[in-house]
């Protein structure tokens, strides 16, 4: 629990999520600045630090506009001699990779360890790919540390700051969705107060990376990494060996270590030697050689690519080890692994019959698949995105347009699913706008639309819009402005009027678009259907870059505030709801299917089907009333003097 993260009770055992434990580890290391951009599964690291920051004077915790800005901010703190943490999901690392490589050359500031938290997502539960960011370690010459449970998340984070300072290099803490979102016991350590005041000590030959300085920086980096690989990687307690007398050994790390132990327990194999790596890059040749000494075969269990497998094979070749090394021929590089995968692989490798056959169970479930309907994700009742999409659909209905719908990252990606089917591609943050531009340059017969969220707009959307204006693309950009970085847990963005530390300047997206040179910029309220439809109709008829900002707050946020307002209304005796006049409803299914609000269900009236509003879910957005063809949806507002009624009762 977040409240346990700030507890000043060393030795106390609390339950923490992996991400919360990372935040605690940073606090125990005296982190002075934390930055990042929200992204599942990494979001809670920064969210937690933002929440507890007020209890730690001297800790600056802030959301940044995007990941490279976040990393650069962290670099500034590090170079001012303050420990800094930067958190992002794995695709965010691509955005941050520009400063990353040079940062590794320059190194960190004195006493300013820098830890980058990477949230990996095997199985793409909330991502567009499942890239393996351990390769950034290899590519940029950066140590990579990988915890396997919440206790290690905390401990390894603290340790990573030390490594960063000792070897003058940023350190990546490699998490996966499973480590981030596993709950487990953590024994708290001592909190270390953050350094309140930093100071940038000039060092031109270190920080001004170009030409010979860059090359000599790289040489320094390579020396440091070699020293780390030779000595530290051999002796560090981040790695551990579980002894065993078998001739087949296992090398693993992170969650795969957990799955390995559980599978071996199920197979009753307690004498298999295991090398568990906590420092997954660089590896110690000596450690590997010693582990492999009496082994015929090493099985490498790791999620995603065969990163450790390849590193081990390199070492085996260099050291002349005759041990056979296998990994990806047993474990798929696609998708998340589990105890089941470990059980299947190890039962084969060690020739032991498993007590349970996971494949058989999966097949058995498959046999009942006709009973298991998909629960397709959709928009919440009262979501403004649904209203925006419906308005666009109505605006183009019957016009015979051939439309390409460009998608982007956010809740509005659900536009690609029924009933709207308005998402033809989705790649990465703000790619919707630029890919749409590219299509418009070469496909003149099609109308091209690009959806983009408000937070995505500030993240990397602005250069994309500017580029579209500059090169005169022929696209309609629809900004789905719901006021928050909603999908990742409602973090604020520059348009919200809040920053991590409180009130902030609110930047208006429409104004920004005008400043970027867009001539046609309109703001619509999607809950005002007639206005929204007419604006979209006009926008489709024009050419060039057209921007429509569809603005209405995320219903989950407004509902939170409405709860108080609703309670107040109830106290004052006001009752308000929407309902279907059943005798008027012609069951045309426009509200039910074309609009598809989950608060509208099928009911029955005098033996015929009618639409019905589920009052428990309806949030009074009013859109269904506006779109009802038979005017069967009514808005009721009843006023009563409840205090008189109460008195009369008593």
């Amino acid at each position: 629990m977040v409240s346990d993260v700030a507890l000043n009770e060393p030795g106390k055992r609390v339950l923490l999520l992996g991400n919360e434990a990372v935040a605690r580890g940073a606090l125990e290391a005296g982190v002075g600045l934390a930055s990042g951009y929200p992204g599942t599964p990494a979001s809670e690291v920064l969210d937690t630090l933002v929440e507890v920051a007020k209890e730690f004077p001297g800790l600056v915790a802030q959301y940044s506009t995007n990941e490279y800005v976040a990393l650069e901010t962290a670099i500034g703190a590090s170079w001012s001699g303050v420990r800094a943490l930067c958190a992002m999901k794995m695709v965010g690392m691509n955005v941050a990779s520009d400063p990353l490589f040079t940062l590794c050359y320059c190194g960190v500031g004195p006493g300013g360890g820098l830890v980058i938290v990477n949230g990996g997502d095997p199985s793409c539960i909330s991502s567009t790919n499942e890239q393996d960011n351990r390769y950034y370690g290899l590519h940029a010459h950066m140590p990579v540390v990988e915890p396997s449970n919440p206790q290690e998340c905390k401990d390894f984070t603290s340790t990573a700051f030390g490594i960063s300072e000792e070897f003058d290099v940023p350190v990546m803490l490699n998490m996966t969705a499973r480590t981030s979102h596993s709950l487990g016991p953590v024994v708290l350590g001592e909190l270390r107060p953050p350094k309140e005041e930093g100071y940038f000590v000039k060092n031109w030959g270190k920080y001004f990376s170009a030409l010979v300085i860059a090359v000599s920086n790289k040489q320094k980096l390579l020396r440091n990494m070699a020293r780390l690989a030779e000595n530290y990687a051999y002796s560090t307690t981040l790695n551990k060996i579980l002894e065993g007398k078998r001739r087949i050994g296992i090398v693993t790390s992170g969650v795969s270590y957990n799955y390995t132990l559980e599978a071996l327990d199920m197979l009753k194999l307690y004498d298999v030697p295991i090398l568990k790596l906590g420092l997954v890059y660089p590896l110690s040749k000596k450690l590997v050689a010693e582990f492999a000494e009496n082994l015929e075969k090493i099985v490498v269990m790791e999620e995603l690519e065969g990163f450790l497998e390849d590193e081990l094979k390199k070492i085996a070749y260099d050291e002349g080890l005759s041990v056979k090394i296998v990994g990806k021929e047993l474990f798929s590089p696609a998708g998340e692994l589990s105890v089941d995968d470990a059980l299947i692989a190890y039962s084969k490798v060690f020739g032991v019959e498993p007590p349970i056959n996971p494949q058989e169970l999966a097949l058995k479930t498959l046999g009942f698949s006709s009973l298991l309907m998909m629960r397709t994700p959709g928009f919440c009742p009262g979501c403004s995105h649904r209203a925006t999409l419906y308005a666009i659909k109505k605006a183009v209905e019957g016009k015979g347009y051939d439309i390409v719908w460009g998608g982007d990252i956010g809740c509005y990606a659900n536009a690609s699913l029924p009933p709207f089917n308005m998402g033809d591609f989705m790649v990465c943050m703000s790619a919707g706008v630029s890919i749409a531009s590219g299509i418009s340059f070469k496909s003149k017969k099609q109308k091209v639309v690009a959806f983009i969220g408000d937070s995505t707009f500030f993240h990397t959307g602005m250069p994309a819009v500017l580029n579209a204006v500059w090169n005169n693309a022929d696209i309609l950009i629809v900004v789905m402005d719901n006021g928050w970085t909603a999908m990742t847990g409602h973090q604020p963005h520059p348009g919200t009027g809040l920053s991590a530390s409180g009130k902030a300047k609110a930047v208006d997206i429409a104004e920004v678009c005008r400043a970027l040179g867009a001539d046609y910029v309109r703001v619509v309220d999607p809950f005002n259907l007639r206005q929204a439809i007419s604006v979209f109709d006009e926008a489709f008829k024009r050419s060039g870059v057209r921007v429509v900002v569809s603005r209405q707050e995320c219903v989950l946020q407004s509902k939170r505030r409405m709860r108080e307002i609703e309670a107040e209304k109830k106290r004052k005796g006001i009752e308000e709801f929407y309902e279907v006049a059943e005798h008027i409803c012609i069951f045309c299914e426009e509200c039910l299917k074309a609009f598809g609000c989950p608060a509208i269900v099928v009911g029955e009236f005098e033996g015929k089907k009618v639409s019905k509003i589920d009052l428990g879910r309806c949030v009074n957005c009013s859109v269904c009333k506006q779109l009802c063809k038979g005017c069967a949806i009514t808005h009721t507002k009843i006023w009563r003097n409840t205090s008189i009624l109460e008195e009369a009762k008593s």
């Binding site: 957990n258 599978a263 996971p358 058995k364 479930t365 039910l592 509208i600 099928v602 089907k609």
Partner: protein, 211 residues
Amino acid sequence: MRKVNILIAGVGGQGVMTIGLLLKYAAVKAGIMVGGTETRGASQREGSVNSHVRFGVLEPGEEYDERRGIHASLVPSGTADLLIGLEPMETLRNAKYVSSNGVTIMNTYEVWPVSVRAGEAEYPPIEKFVEAMKAFTPHVYTVNVNSMADEKYGGYTMAGTIMLGIAFATGRIPLEMHHIEETIRERLGNPEENIDAFHFGYKEGKKILSS
């Protein structure tokens, strides 16, 4: 170490996460090993959700051995001692986790997917789900905790806590009743009503299990 695995399945908003968290916090009180995770398929948007709860209980005189401990946060297939299903279809969706001797408690209250709500498909009859579950374990019990909650407390808010009480009555949860009561008191809003619902569920559970 005796490993006890519990899986809770349902639809976002039914209290799957809350039941999982209560069990995990109660285990800390009981001083036993605990782990777990939640898988969320767009939980706020009516997706399928489940919560994995794993307990490790040292037998008398047993010393902790890492090789025999609780490490994975996910329940391995075929090992769940208890499957708490808050919705029929979601119970079956997680059937592969339940052990051949595990107990399944299935709430018969249906949460319709979009296709059923839109009248494009029909929700299969409950008997089909019971029959399918019996291919995994003979110990399948059905109950409608939503109507129980509605009858006793007016509304569905207490349904999850009643279900926790029924689940506790199976004896498969290696905790004492007071561990759960104390956790409810600390972690839930409206604790008195929740504890009452927990006791109510426990009593009803005893009846259901003996019938």
